[in-house]
Structures are given as C-alpha cells and as structure tokens.
C-alpha cells in the first residue's frame, strides 16, 4: 500500500503540515548575508586594486604570470572542455591569496667597482616561490611553484 495515498493518514498529514516550523533567528539571515558579501567584496577589491593601485602592480604581475603558467599547464591536460581556459582568461574568477618565497641560498659575489670607481656589493639570491589562487565560488585552490634567481647590487661605503 502506498502510504502517500492511505486515506486514514490524510487528515493526520494535513494536521501535521498545518504546523509551521519555527522561524530561523534574524541573526542567521545576517550571518548568511555577511558570508555571501565576503565573497563579493573579495572580487570587488581585487578588480579595483588592479586598475587603480600602483602598489598592486607587482602582485598583479605575479598573479598574471601564475595564471599564465596555470593555463599553460592546464593546456597540456587532456580535457573535453577546451573553452574553459578562455573563460578563465576573460573573467576574474580566481584570486591570488598567498605568495610565499623561500630563500634557498645567498651567494656573496664580493665587492665590485663601477666605472665611476664606486664600490658596490653583489649578491645572488636563489629562491623558490609559491603562488596560490582561490576560486571564491567553491573554495578550490590552485598552487604553482617555481624557482627564482635574483641579483642584488648594494651600495657600499668604507669608513
């Protein structure tokens, strides 16, 4: 017998359905609102920073470099959804959330003199950088790690 159509239960079901579940507290709606707004504010902050804030130029460059690397890596992965890379490039769906640089070695190349006979110290820094992006819609994380080598020239004064 199908319980949904049992005639003896129909009145009982109607009686039970007539009871209204207690409303959720107003604080719950507020909390959901804040959590959803948090996602949106990430997107807006990111977009503004790229356009107007010169301080973001370097991180944005790193983000672009990382995204390009990620797209390049993903292009080697066989996937039926070939249009996803294009979508990723045109819409800011992933946000840079962390840049970690680990110094692996520092080589002191000694004191050198410029053409003007001014002393300067040359340093070579070998590091490993790790860029992390997050998709705020579902929390997916993407991390790219690559080696990096930088040469520093420091002014020297003898006293």
């Amino acid at each position: 017998m199908n319980p949904e159509s049992a005639p003896n239960d129909t009145r009982l079901e109607s009686l039970l359905r007539g009871l209204t579940p207690a409303a959720a507290s107003p604080a719950l709606s507020q909390r959901v609102d804040e959590e959803l707004k948090l996602d949106m504010s990430w997107l807006h902050t990111h977009a503004r920073a790229q356009r107007h804030t010169p301080r973001w130029l370097v991180p944005a460059s790193w983000a672009a470099l990382g995204a390009a690397a990620a797209v390049a890596v993903m292009s080697f992965v066989p996937s039926p959804a070939t249009s996803s890379a294009g979508t990723l490039a045109t819409t800011p769906t992933v946000l840079p959330v962390a840049t970690i640089r680990e110094w692996e070695n520092v080589q002191d190349e000694g004191i050198h003199y410029t053409q003007e006979r001014l002393p300067e110290q040359h340093l070579r820094v070998i590091a490993r950088e790790r860029q992390t992006w997050i998709d705020p819609r579902d929390g997916a994380e993407m991390t790219v790690e690559y080696p990096r080598e930088q040469k520093f020239v420091l002014p020297v004064s003898f006293q």
Binding site: L15, A24, R31, V32
Partner: protein
C-alpha cells in the same frame, strides 16, 4: 555579482524547514542554524539562481554538514564529559503554532523527539520539506520502500500520540468495542 541579489527570498522560504530538519540531526537550535548557514552558503555559491529544482540538494547539504558536525561534537562531548564541563541544553520551540494549535504542536514536538531518528528524518523531510520519497531515498542512499516504510511507522506512532485529539481535530470517533459473546461480561459467563 548581481545574481546574489535575491538570495534572501529563497532563504526566507526554506530556512524554517531547513532548521527544523537540521534540529532532528543535531543537539540544539544554535547548532542547527550553524549547519543551515554553512549548507545554504555552499548551495547558493553553486546555484546562485536559486532554482527550486535544486532544493533537495540543499537538504542533502544540511544532512552532510549536520552529520559531520555531530561526529566532531561527539568527540568534543566525550572530551568535555571527562573534564566535567556542563553542556548547554536548549529547549527552543520547534514549531510556531497558530492560536489553537499549541497543544498539538507540543504533542507533535514531543512525539517527533521520541521517534527513532531515521523515522524522524523521513517524516520531517516529507511533511515539512515537501520532498518526495524518491528524493529522500536518493539523499539518504536508501531504497524507496525503506523510506516509505519508515514514513508509515512514523505516522502510526504520531497517530497514537495524537489519539486523544482525534475526535476534535481529525474528525474520527473511536467505535465502541464489539461484544461477540452472548454475555455482557466474563463474570456473567462463568456464573
């Protein structure tokens, strides 16, 4: 993102039912609201159009998160029991009864609490979540016959609890017992 503008409309429609369902799985209303918050945000990120066809997935998210939370709470309760920390007990009402429904609401709340959890879950999803047996079966990974059986048993139990209200509210009258013996009492038969 403009798609988020009307999440409140969907939320207001489903939140009371979601909290009611979550309360069948976790200890308090506060815990239930935490579960609903996580489930709704997760669901809305995935379906920002708020399509009602995806509501069963919202209930499934509530179930998954509630069971996860309960597992971690069990560990916490065990720890706190060992350290003699008193646990809060909450008795917030489950229903918001209309005038004249207070007695029924109290009985149903108590009866729901007394049901086995699996029956309580099915009857909540069916009656207040408006899910079909198919949707509940898919969500709980059970057969549709199992779900229908649990619902049947739950209704029977609720029927018993509400028996004394049947005449007034359900329009049923208890028929007098049929005397199949030619005697009015066993004593008369023995005398």
């Amino acid at each position: 993102m403009e798609a988020s503008f009307d999440w409140k409309q969907t939320f207001n429609q489903v939140a009371p039912q979601l909290v009611l369902y979550a309360r069948q799985l976790v200890a308090s209303k506060a815990d239930a609201e935490d579960v609903v918050q996580m489930a709704f945000v997760r669901w809305w990120r995935r379906f920002p159009e708020g399509d009602s066809a995806h509501i069963p997935l919202l209930y499934a998210a509530v179930r998954t998160i509630a069971l996860d939370q309960r597992r971690s709470d069990t560990r916490r309760v065990n720890r706190e029991a060992k350290s003699d920390i008193a646990l809060p007990h909450e008795d917030a009402p489950t229903f918001d009864p209309q005038p004249g429904q207070q007695e029924v609401a109290a009985i149903v709340e108590k009866a729901l609490h007394d049901l086995p959890e699996q029956q309580r879950e099915v009857v909540t999803l069916k009656l207040w979540g408006n899910l079909t047996f198919n949707e509940i079966a898919a969500m709980t990974n059970e057969s549709i016959n199992t779900i229908a059986g649990r619902y049947r048993y739950a209704l029977q139990a609720l029927h018993k609890k509400l028996a004394h209200l049947k005449e007034d509210l359900l329009g049923e009258t208890t028929p007098p017992p049929i005397n199949i013996l030619p005697f009015s009492s066993p004593q008369e038969a023995l005398s």
